[in-house]
Symmetry: C2
DNA sequence: GATATATAAGATATATTTTGTCTTATATCG
DNA sequence: CGATATAAGACAAAATATATCTTATATATC
């Protein structure tokens, strides 16, 4: 009952991008170093974020990732579920047919409620708010005027 | 982000015992069949429930398990955590020292809140209530007058 | 006490998931 | 074209979860 590493990494990645702002291109390597995520693992996670429409991936010599939406419109829930799939605290929450008893089961109802609550809480957290204060990155993001990516600095 | 099978099985076991009532002895085999849990796996789970003080295990020819408390005093949370350990939605919730940034991290605070909420919801569910209606067991518990265990019937 | 039965305890095996790396291909810049 | 960065997916390693098996111990009954 724990977020996977991949999920955590996905959050770090989006948070790093959110600090730069919507549309600002940041190289994978730069993100990987700053958030302490293995670069190739980040690549895989980024692809899931891209498929979910959260980021855009640019290939080529000066490629990288960038946010497609304003950080205020991206929720923690969206990022997590883009990476690890829809949250389901018990098997029978996501797949009621996996247990013959789910229609009658009182425990099942508790799980449904808990699951709904959890997803709501994660949905209330947007990345503009999360990025506003010091947060998440192991190596703190260097202060800039917020408009220019600290491009050269790898 | 999902309850383990062992956790689910633990719940089923306690629910089955709760239907019989506090102090009523039920054999492991009987519970295993009724709840569709591999008997040896159930044994291991039961040992954890016993260590947590939820059930008592009786050895010997007519041994089995029985609840130590009234079902109304046993919460879903207690049973789950007896089996899978304290719930911690992200690594840094249970072990803040696992991430250097947890003191400042805004994401960390969201996880803490979500974790607290989840545990509260699971704590509000007691087994007297859960067992009151049809629930959880794959093979419905046979109706009796509630005082005598359906002993012979294996 | 002997025997049968049921669980204890822990070793072991299997399966699944997670995590991370590596290789080859492709896109872009200069 | 050559250098560089990511894409995509195969592959490998590690961790975890699930299940079973074996030997030991406790209890009831005879
Ligand atoms: S970065 Fe924040 S959310 Fe992620 S592990 Fe560290 S404290 Fe927890
Ligand atoms: S018994 Fe109830 S809680 Fe358990 S898996 Fe089935 S529906 Fe879900």
């Amino acid at each position: 009952m724990r977020l996977t590493r991949a999920g955590e990494y996905g959050i770090r990645c989006v948070l790093d991008l959110a600090r730069h702002g919507k549309g600002i291109l940041v190289s994978r390597k730069e993100i990987a170093v700053r958030t302490d995520v293995p670069p190739h693992f980040l690549a895989k996670i980024a692809q899931q974020l891209a498929r979910a429409g959260i980021i855009e991936i640019l290939q080529g010599a000066s490629g990288g990732y960038r946010l497609l939406s304003d950080p205020s419109e991206i929720t923690l829930l969206a990022v997590i579920e883009a990476v690890i799939g829809e949250i389901s605290l018990n098997d029978c929450v996501g797949r009621p047919e996996s247990c013959d008893n789910s229609a009658l089961c009182t425990v099942h109802r508790v799980w449904n409620k808990a699951n709904r609550q959890l997803r709501e809480t994660l949905q209330e957290a947007d990345f503009a708010t999360l990025a506003a204060e010091d947060a998440c990155c192991l190596t703190p993001f260097p202060k800039t005027d917020g408009r220019n990516p600290p491009s050269g600095k790898k």
